[in-house]
Amino acid sequence: MSLESLKAHDSTWEIIAAEIPKYKPKFDDIPSAPLHSLDTLWFQVGGTICNLWCTHCFISCSPKNHKFGFMPREEVMKHLEESKEIGVKEYYFTGGEPFMNRDMLGILEDTLAIGPATVLTNGILIPERVAKRLKAISENSIYSLEIRVSIDGFTEETNDKIRGEGSFRKAMAGVKNLVENGFLPIITVAQTWEDSETERIFNGFKKTLTEVGYNRPRIKMIPPLRIGREKVRSHGYDKYEYITKEMMVDYDDHLLQCTTGRMVTDKGVYVCPILIDSPEAKVSDTLAESFEPYPLKHQACYTCYISGAICHNFSASEN
């Protein structure tokens, strides 16, 4: 499906949600994932609002998608306070585009005062001024501030086909500003190629990044989640691609984000960062109530199962 035809729809998700799955596993064959401990706390701080319109976006973010809104600083603060009691280990911020949220720098300041933070961004809204502010926030803290910039091709042509015209140039400018301010941004690449291409693409990224002065680039490749717009772009899941109880025997369930994390949005707490488009994935209003085990009934769970904790900074990549 082309970008143009995608744009014609207000929310691709609604079309997909209307599709009835051809197959559902038997109810009693669905395994449940316990929350072992709440180590990783996610914030959908940018809602589903984004200045890009990527063809593979698994929650169909766009300038027009206001399903989830920006989270104000005070609201994040409230959850940060609660997270201290729980003993959370690290904080992740995503969207949409987090830097479209005007409170973002303040939110990072609050977070870095109590623990390490990671921001998932498309890199476009990081002019020198913002990079300098980020540097100051980072230097003021004993904790790490990680910036993860999504870029999906190492050339303008390949990237912009997925992420939209001009996005490559702008994101690379953001990367350059970050590097010049002492950051080592983690370049996150959604794999839209065959496995045999991975090495060539990895080396291509290395070269491109070195050219803007990023001499020891950190590059993370992640498998695409075949939901949201990506379901339309490539293909959805096959009917048998579910997790069954049998599959969980001898499986280290720590690899699933939902066993050690939760996602806070402006609409309540969700089981993980992947499923916020699914109303059933809302588990509670407060963190304290979000500890119930969660049934792994979604097909996206299958990607988690196969690929490991794909959302985490230090998690398995596929090559």
Partner: protein, 264 residues
């Protein structure tokens, strides 16, 4: 629970087959009046000739916590359970592991299998919990820049103690918390700390009314270790680390603050 009458103990981690550093440590600690030595695990990896470590442990009555490496070697597992996630990191980790596994005697393997996951001691009225990665997970990484105070306080609640000591990451640090709790990652003696210095680190705990932790830089014959690694055909990347003090592999797991301080 062992009630210790000791006044001064030394705690170290991550031997990584570096028997030369271990020999140097035994000597250095004795010179400082240390009465007892504790090791927080990961006897193998990285360096040459794993079996050379074994007699030193026995002769000096060193008590050892089981690290992820020791658990793997002792139980014939196929990898080190280091918890790396980058393919390149895993490639190098596997080279060390296969080498160490192939060169560890059956006797040393069964010793490693039987090691305890935690050791609790009492020192000067304080409960000290010795473990490998964290009290809750052997291969958990606790880096200074990625470990919040409130997270540590929770660990103290769940694993009752006054002092918790860990290793596994390879870089030492300590933090004083509220309620007089003290946490420390005591570093490793197997390889330098990614700061351009060839020495390695261990910790001294001294009882003098309260308990203080002092980190001790330890020099050893790194040139000799490097040439032995060469003889054993271990990767040049590892040898470079021993000779320069900069990490060359297994870097993707570092949080940005720790990574930025290094060279690669």
């Amino acid at each position: 629970m062992q009630k210790l009458a000791y006044k001064k103990i030394a705690v170290f981690g991550g031997v990584y087959n570096n028997y030369l550093a271990l020999e140097a440590l035994v000597k250095d600690a004795k010179n400082r009046g240390v009465e007892k030595l504790y090791c927080l695990g990961d006897l193998g990896a990285f360096g040459p000739n794993p079996d050379k470590v074994f007699p030193i442990l026995l002769e000096n009555n060193i008590e050892v916590v089981q690290g992820n490496y020791d658990n793997s070697i002792g139980n014939d597992l196929s990898d080190c359970q280091c918890g790396y996630t980058d393919p390149q990191d895993n490639y190098f980790a596997q080279i060390s592991y296969d080498y160490t596994f192939a060169n560890t005697s059956a006797e040393f393997k069964s010793y490693q299998k039987r090691l305890p996951k935690k050791i609790r001691i009492e020192l000067g009225g304080k409960q000290v919990l010795l473990c490998h990665g964290s009290p809750r997970q052997t291969n958990e990484f606790l880096w200074e820049s990625a470990t919040p105070n409130h997270f540590l306080e929770k660990l103290f609640q769940n694993h009752e103690s006054d002092i918790i000591l860990t290793t596994h990451t390879g870089i030492h640090w300590q933090r004083q918390l509220s309620d007089d709790k003290l946490f420390a990652n005591i570093g490793v003696i197997g390889r330098p700390e990614n700061d351009g210095e060839t020495h390695v680190w261990y910790a001294l705990l001294t009882e003098n009314g309260n308990i203080g932790i002092e980190f001790i830089p330890l020099e050893y014959d790194s040139k000799n270790l490097a040439s032995e690694m060469k003889e054993e055909n271990l990767p040049q990347e590892f040898i470079d680390t021993v000779l320069t003090g900069w990490w060359t592999t297994c870097l993707e797991i570092l949080p940005v603050k720790e990574r930025v301080r290094g060279k690669y």
